[in-house]
């Protein structure tokens, strides 16, 4: 594998990690506040559909993004209603939300577009394009010289290759996702809101005693979760791919959940976990079977590896993953 191939694999890693990272941070906010969320998948799927649908109808990807976020936040509100207000089982609510999204997206897509549960392909302003950094080789240079971008990049020095291929040229949502990591860290660990949010996931009674609303904090966390899942879904349908297809999240919500556990509910580690799982996806996408010193690793191992690694981490053989203490427990005020 030469250097340029490696860069290309890393480039695709970044693209594939982005939805995982956004969903993972979404889950981080929710679970740190004590609300388990296995409905990340459903929220992403709903956002993917509505962003693609609105972007295709209006021709504006930004309106699509807003619609996707709104759709995701409606489901987040439903999860909040079930698990905070009515103190229902958070896991069952998550399962219901996943099915609701899987069914509703196809139902509405069929009703609106009649293309077998997909949206029309997005073109032009209906899709997020790549951001070209100054000095990086991009489509503009290709047009000017009349040679393809890949050829131009192959002809330059390694540092410029990294800059042009790996760092520059992604859609704006990719940069948003990676900037969300320090932002999440700062909010959770350097602000009063973050302190309270973490406290409500560990010991809600203490937060309640100090006169802060447990319900309000948990709804805020669930809303942030909805926002981030919405961006993740919109990225899938309007940046990574051009339009919505049935079940397009394909288990990414669960990989994000796995990454969250793998990272033991911490933002920076979440980024590394998502990059690792994105890297596995990139490898599986590029190579069917990998030959490592005579032993052929089938592609199915790559598919299953994130889940296997998560089970190993959960089992506590490699450092123990301890969830927020009040996670999954509805808070009942003492009377």
């Amino acid at each position: 594998m030469d250097f340029l191939t490696l860069i290309q694999v890393f480039d695709s890693t970044v693209r594939l990690s982005t939805p995982l990272l956004l969903a993972c941070l979404a889950g981080l906010f929710s679970e740190r506040a004590g609300i388990f969320d296995i409905g990340l998948e459903g929220k992403m799927l709903m956002a993917a559909f509505f962003s693609a649908a609105i972007a295709s109808v209006t021709g504006s990807v930004w309106l699509g993004l807003l619609a996707g976020i709104a759709a995701s936040m409606v489901l987040a509100g439903l999860h909040g209603l079930a698990s905070i207000t009515f103190r229902g089982n958070q896991l069952i609510s998550g399962v219901a939300i996943n099915f609701l999204a899987a069914g509703m997206t196809v139902l509405i897509a069929q009703d609106w577009f009649r293309q077998g549960g997909r949206t029309p392909s997005l073109i032009g302003g209906g899709r997020f394009g790549g951001l070209e950094f100054p000095g990086a080789i991009g489509p503009a240079d290709a047009e000017a010289t009349g040679r393809p971008v890949s050829e131009l990049i192959a002809g330059t020095n390694p540092l410029h290759q990294v800059y042009s291929d790996l760092i520059s040229g992604h859609s704006i949502l990719v940069y948003v996702a990676f900037l969300a990591v320090p932002a999440t860290w700062w909010v959770l660990f350097r602000t009063r809101f973050g302190l309270r949010l973490r406290a409500v996931g560990e010991n809600p009674a203490a937060v309640d005693t100090s006169g802060v609303s447990v319900v309000g904090l948990r709804y805020a966390a669930v809303a942030i979760c909805g926002l981030l899942c919405g961006i993740a879904g919109a990225y899938l349908a309007t940046a990574l791919q051009a339009g919505f297809v049935k079940d397009m999240t394909a288990g990414r919500g669960f990989i994000a959940l796995a990454a969250l556990i793998f990272a033991k509910w911490r933002p920076w580690q979440a980024m590394w976990a998502c990059l690792l799982f994105g890297f596995l996806q990139a490898i599986a996408l590029r190579y069917q079977n990998i030959d490592v010193g005579g032993v052929v690793i089938p592609v199915q191992v790559m598919d299953a590896l994130p889940y296997i690694l998560t089970v190993v981490i959960l089992a506590g053989f490699v450092g123990k993953a301890i969830p927020p203490r009040a996670g999954g427990e509805p808070y009942v005020k003492e009377r």
């Binding site: 009515f86 089982n89 509405i108 199915q300 959960l314």
Partner: protein, 364 residues
């Protein structure tokens, strides 16, 4: 003192939840420009109007009885087994191995052999998450979700690389030999003079599923082990104080649960497809969650809920065939049932409890 009579808890709340789910589904059908009354009529005639329809309804119901019981048994021990899907996939592998590589003289023996290995494979797939929960405290919901994905990767590998016949492009095993063919309801009912549709896939495993309902009922309410499982589910500390080992109960409950989910394969793999294909389970493991919630984790409730979902599945297929309503409507209905009977249970329960309390006060 109970806040409300038992009949309200067992009958009224599920009924109200079901009505809410049905009403919302009707709104969804209206919103996509179809007539809900006509849709229900079409579903009833398509699923229950002929022996062909009944044959499909009962075929789906058989799947859902197994997976519903699987979730219900785990619920009794206060565990949420989302892994029914993966356990049923592995069960399918067990059935395929038994049917393809053992020369069975008669289908009865084949059924016993195949269901044993299916149950063993399903139980084995549930055993690892169970052990991790019991010994290492890893959350069983997360591990069983992960094991669903691992199961589908394993099955994919086995079908593509190991069990696919030479020269076949399809990731599926060879067809099972003739002696392991399970009699369909047509073949079972013909000797006693009942003419049942030949084309419908319902088969003898329906009887196995019904027997499983009875056995689970006996186990949960009539044996010492069942008592221990329920005691553990009600209060872990209480059970511990009574000398019940949490590790033992967790393991046993999950093994039974996984075994039941695995046994679903005698219906869909051995009875219907007669070969193992990718995605043979078609989400039945997840429908088991809705079935168990609606059936209040009672085997008789699971039996009824499974038939209801069998009806919805067959009716939904008919809808997709004759109208512009896609099959995914069933997924929406399933989601609403899970939402109302599971997550939003308190939304129905709280006002009802208040109502019954005020009624009682009025009388006193």
């Amino acid at each position: 003192m109970d806040k409300m009579p038992k009949w309200a808890d067992v009958v009224l709340i599920p009924l109200i939840s079901l009505i809410l789910a049905a009403a919302l589904s009707a709104l969804v059908i209206l919103a996509i420009g179809e007539d809900p009354v006509a849709a229900v009529r079409l579903m009833v005639s398509g699923a229950l109007g002929s022996t062909y329809g009944w044959g499909y309804t009962l075929y789906y119901a058989t799947n859902f009885m197994f997976t519903g019981l699987a979730v219900a048994v785990a619920f009794h021990a206060r565990m949420f087994n989302i892994g029914g899907e993966g356990q049923a996939m592995l069960g399918g592998l067990g059935v395929a191995l038994m049917c393809l590589y053992v020369p069975w003289p008669h289908w009865t023996l084949a059924l016993i052999g195949a269901s044993t290995l299916a149950a063993l494979f399903g139980a084995a797939w549930a055993a690892i998450p169970a052990w991790l929960q019991a010994k290492r405290g890893s959350h069983i919901v997360i591990t069983t979700i992960m094991f669903n994905f691992i199961a589908s990767a394993v099955l994919n590998y086995v079908l593509v690389n190991l069990m696919r016949p030479q020269g076949s492009m399809d990731p599926a095993t060879a067809r099972f030999p003739e002696p392991v063919h399970l009699p369909t309801l047509h073949e079972l009912l013909a000797p006693i003079g009942i003419n049942f549709s030949k084309a419908a896939p319902a088969n003898v495993s329906l009887l196995v599923a019904v027997a499983a309902c009875v056995l689970v009922w006996l186990l949960i309410w009539r044996t010492r082990l069942g008592y221990e499982i329920r005691a553990y589910g009600h209060s872990e500390t209480g059970a511990l104080y009574a000398g019940i080992s949490p590790v033992r109960i967790t393991m046993i409950a999950m093994l039974i649960s996984g075994g039941l989910a695995g046994m679903m394969a005698i219906n869909n793999v051995m009875g219907e497809a007669e070969r193992l294909v990718l995605n043979a389970t078609e989400g039945a493991g997840f429908i088991g969650i809705a079935v168990a919630l609606m059936g209040r984790s009672h085997p008789f409730g699971v039996f009824l809920a499974a038939i209801l979902f069998g009806f919805l599945y067959q009716g939904g297929a008919e809808l997709a065939l004759w109208t512009s309503i896609p099959r995914e409507l069933i997924v929406v209905i399933q989601a609403l049932v899970i939402l109302f009977t599971g997550a939003l249970d308190n939304m129905v329960r709280m006002p009802l409890e208040k109502l019954f309390l005020s009624l009682r006060k009025g009388r006193a």
